[in-house]
């Protein structure tokens, strides 16, 4: 019965409900990211919730408009930025004379609690990587499912290739 057009894919009840809760979920995702050290949560969970917020918007508003709203380069930027921050902090510890990601050096050199080093990795590194990976995975899958977009997925698959090493990187960092 309903003829779907590209900008109005969901019932407006769902659309408006998503609009209302989106700021709350995004805030909550970022809150979790910032409270990884002393509460449940952290970069992984927080990043996932941030990613989920975007997926929710995509469900409600349609995937194409959301993709236009969040440009591919932006997502790639998030992911690579996360990797750069992660690497910089980790290598920074080596520069201070420790091992990769050895935060105890912070205490020795700058008199900062090691907790803040972990926080910085969680916030700057992991959350960005995870949210970027979730969003780009979703868009990549969605692009595969849409018949008339088969030719136009160059940007999305580019993101996908970028993601593979990042995902591995993120997994490794889980251990510390």
């Amino acid at each position: 019965m309903a003829d779907y057009d590209d900008t109005y894919t969901e019932s407006q009840v769902i659309m408006t409900a998503v609009k209302i809760i989106a700021p709350f979920t995004l805030t909550y995702g970022l809150f979790m990211t910032f409270h990884g050290g002393d509460a449940p949560g952290g970069g992984f969970q927080g990043g996932t919730i941030v990613g989920v917020t975007v997926l929710m918007l995509a469900f409600a508003f349609g995937i194409e408009p959301t993709r236009q709203w969040l440009r591919n380069s932006f997502i790639t930027g998030i992911v690579t930025g996360g990797v750069v921050i992660f690497g910089a902090i980790g290598l920074g510890m080596i520069a201070l004379g420790g091992e990769f990601l050895e935060f105890y050096k912070l205490k020795a050199v700058f008199d900062i609690k090691p907790k803040w080093g972990l926080e910085a990795v969680e916030i700057g590194g992991i959350s960005l990587i995870v949210s970027g990976v979730i969003i780009s995975l979703f868009f990549t899958m969605a692009a595969g499912f849409t018949p008339d977009r088969r030719s136009g997925t160059g940007g999305a698959s580019g993101v996908d290739i970028d993601d593979a090493p990042d995902a591995a990187n993120a997994e490794v960092s889980d251990d510390d």
């Binding site: 995004l26 970022l30 809150f31």
Partner: protein, 343 residues
């Protein structure tokens, strides 16, 4: 001798004067003699209390526009017709507007529609983009007036943007401090940063309709008053439905009903549809524009729905006390029981 018949839908925007000017000028270029139909589409029908004020505004706008046309036409052969459309129905989406324009165009033999790029009928937000699409679908020729509006518009959206950013920021910051500890410096600092990110990224998504500095806070207060009423309705409906379900014979009487509500799209409609779903016994199956398809489980719930208590309450929340006093859906003949075919 050719006569060009133009339809110019008017609304009170910054660019309406230029639109009228363009209509007259372009019409006279194409033909010697011009018949200019100035119309105002009224969003509300007579059953709604706001309609009287809308009608006055419409008459005022029409008489001003008539003067403009006379001024622009000079000595040329221009006939002016004015009309108010849609007084007998409740116009909801762009599709409704497109259809009444089309009916009018067919009745008067209109050649072309001249659209104001800022066209904004009544209370709804700017609908031009979808309206163009609907006109395309119907097959009515239209022409968008080339108007100058950049300076004014920049300033206007600037202040609107600030309101949205500010509102999103405060909501996000408040939520963050509730989650965290408002006395801990780390939470205060990161909260501000997070609220900034959220405001920049989602302000335009969440508040797609511009905020009103006076009305919006009042609506929040009225919404807080609405919550106890809703809870009371939920408790009543829960008890009624529980009694039916727990009885061994289970005397349910499922029906599908169609109710034309008198609330605007977006937040009011969502609030109404969700309130209906939240009260057990009624379930919103479909919400296409203002037409709600509601499944009801027991006759008592159906009667409550047709009495329109929730609808009046939602109207109170969004439009104020005077607007709440509208006839119930049953009285204005907007509620009917439909069969399963309507799905």
């Amino acid at each position: 001798m050719a006569v060009e018949r133009l339809l110019v839908p008017l609304s009170d925007t910054v660019t309406v004067r230029q639109t009228v000017g363009y209509a007259v000028q372009s019409g006279l270029e194409r033909a010697d003699s011009l018949e200019c139909h100035l119309v105002v589409a009224l969003p509300y029908d007579d059953a709604v209390p706001e309609s009287a004020r809308q009608r006055e505004d419409a008459d005022d706008l029409l008489s001003r526009a008539r003067n403009w046309v006379e001024e622009d036409a000079g000595d040329a052969d221009v006939t002016i017709e004015t009309a108010t459309l849609g007084a007998d129905e409740y116009l909801f989406g762009p599709r409704d507007y497109a259809e009444i324009f089309d009916d009018y165009a067919a009745a008067q033999g209109i050649d072309r529609v001249v659209l104001d790029p800022e066209y904004q009928p009544g209370v709804t937000a700017r609908i031009l983009q979808p309206l163009e699409r609907e006109l395309d679908r119907i097959g009515l020729a239209y022409d968008e007036a080339p108007v100058e509006r950049s300076t004014r518009r920049g300033r206007l959206t600037g202040s609107e943007d600030f309101d949205r950013l500010f509102a999103t920021f405060m909501v996000s910051y408040g939520f963050y401090l509730v989650l965290g500890d408002p006395t801990y410096w780390f939470d205060l600092v990161t909260g501000a940063a997070v609220a900034g990110i959220v405001a920049v990224s989602l302000a335009r998504v969440t508040f797609s309709v511009p905020l009103d500095r006076v009305q919006s806070p009042i609506r929040v207060v009225r919404f807080a008053l609405y919550i106890p009423y809703l809870l009371w309705e939920i408790v009543k409906a829960n008890i009624a439905v529980s009694a039916v379900i727990l009885r061994p014979s289970m005397p349910i009487e499922p029906t599908l009903t169609q109710v034309d509500s008198r609330v605007r799209s977006g937040l009011p409609l969502t609030a109404l549809a969700n309130s209906i779903t939240l009260t057990p016994g009624t379930l919103t199956v479909r919400a296409t524009d203002q037409r709600l398809l509601v499944h009801t489980l027991i006759p008592a719930a159906r009667e409550d729905l047709f009495d329109g208590g929730l609808e009046k309450a939602i109207r109170f929340v969004f439009y104020g006390r005077e607007s709440a006093a509208i006839p119930s859906p049953r009285e204005r003949d907007d509620a009917e029981i439909v069969g399963g075919d309507e799905l």
